[in-house]
């Protein structure tokens, strides 16, 4: 009579989303950070739109990467601190099911929110409207891949007192390929060429990470929960 994996995932997804929306300020923080970081670049470089447009894909992607990295720390932290992570681990559901549901919920709340916000930032950086579709699609794939890598990093460092800096040091090198493919897909779209090549690589990276990360993240959690 026990509960199937999909039903459990739905339940955890519901739990995570209702928890996130109980603290809307924590949802907004990474988004505002995304805006602030992208505003730094025109100030640092120049208000000249033509110059900004060349830099736009890189700026957008680095800002998106850093803002989702900010919220990854909270993936397991809250549950680990109040002891509910143990309850989830002992629920009889496999740890991977729990990790998948929590990571997807985290992505919806952080990555997807960044994607929805990205047109705002893109216009500020002079990215033409017809490049928006590719940009948003590549950003969606990129932030999802990052959430999976973040789940591994968070699983490894959640038990540590000063784990959040180490989390970024662990996740960023692993995230460099997705940055390369994502930024160049957006860059190609702006230049009018077809971004297909980069998008295919990004998509394959996303599928690869989505299949392996739950195993690695649950193994990491098992070490932390000892």
């Amino acid at each position: 009579m026990n509960v199937g994996a999909f039903r459990a995932m739905r339940l955890i997804l519901h739990r995570e989303l209702s928890l996130s929306f109980r603290r809307p300020d924590q949802l907004l923080q990474p988004l505002v950070f995304f805006l602030i970081v992208t505003t730094l670049f025109p100030l640092a470089l120049s208000p000249e739109m033509s110059l900004l447009r060349d830099m736009a894909p890189g700026v957008l992607w680095v800002a998106a990467l850093l803002s989702s990295l900010l919220s990854i720390d909270a993936l397991f932290k809250g549950d680990a601190d109040d002891g509910t992570l143990e309850q989830l681990a002992l629920s009889g559901q496999s740890l991977s099911v729990i990790v998948i549901a929590k990571t997807i919920a985290h992505w919806l709340v952080s990555g997807a929110a960044l994607v929805v916000m990205s047109p705002l930032v893109a216009t500020a950086l002079g990215i033409p409207v017809d490049a928006f579709a590719t940009m948003m699609f590549s950003l969606a794939l990129g932030t999802l891949t990052l959430s999976w890598l973040g789940a591994i990093g968070a699983g490894l460092t959640v038990g540590l007192r000063r784990g959040s800096v180490l989390l970024s040091l662990i996740v960023l090198p692993l995230a460099m390929p997705l940055l390369i493919f994502g930024a160049s897909a957006t860059d190609r779209a702006i230049g009018g060429e077809s971004p297909a090549g980069a998008l295919y690589f990004l998509a394959s990276l996303c599928v690869f990470t989505s299949s392996l990360a739950p195993l690695a993240a649950s193994a990491a959690l098992r070490i932390t929960l000892e």
Binding site: V3, L11, R22, G78, T84, E86, S91, G92, L225, E226
Partner: protein, 209 residues
Amino acid sequence: MNADAAALTVDQVHVWRGDRHVLRALSFGVDAGQLLHIWGPNGTGKTTLLRVVCGLLRPEQGQVAWGGRPIERIRSEYQAAMAYASHEAALKGDLTALENLRYAVGLKRRVRDDELRATLERTGIGAGADLPARVLSAGQRRRVAMARVLAMRAAVWLLDEPFTNLDVGGSALMSRMLEEHVDQGGLALVVAHHELELNRPIRRLELSA
């Protein structure tokens, strides 16, 4: 209420915490309908033992078996039939008592809210069911954790200091719950540094320093 619990056996378990040899060649068995009181001063590995038995901590040597099968191989099945309560009440502060139960128990069995409300009522949290858990007192939070254990209808109970923060009424309720669980063929390991007032036979395991 819950199916007869298969026997739980711990066999030659050794655990080191850094350089400290916390558990040395520990062996015991608990059958269905029995309650084992794990007793001993602080720092003698009571909680470590419970974490080994529930499958969170893997011992360096030795084995824990449930119904004769090692728990590593039947991890999901074993943990689905178990209710573990750590020494802190482990509730999400932003969720109400009812929601905490819905998400925790819902992972183990299909359960409707009205049954959860009834269980909360029974442990004295009827009024507070819809309050965020963070506003509840420590004793009330312990009663919500008690309701969670009850609602899971688990065959195996692993409780770490379940009487902490409970007032006289709460402790009596906890004792009644344990008696009921054992009578129905359930199995329980209770870590407590004080006497347990249960009018049932209690086996005791003393952990020395």
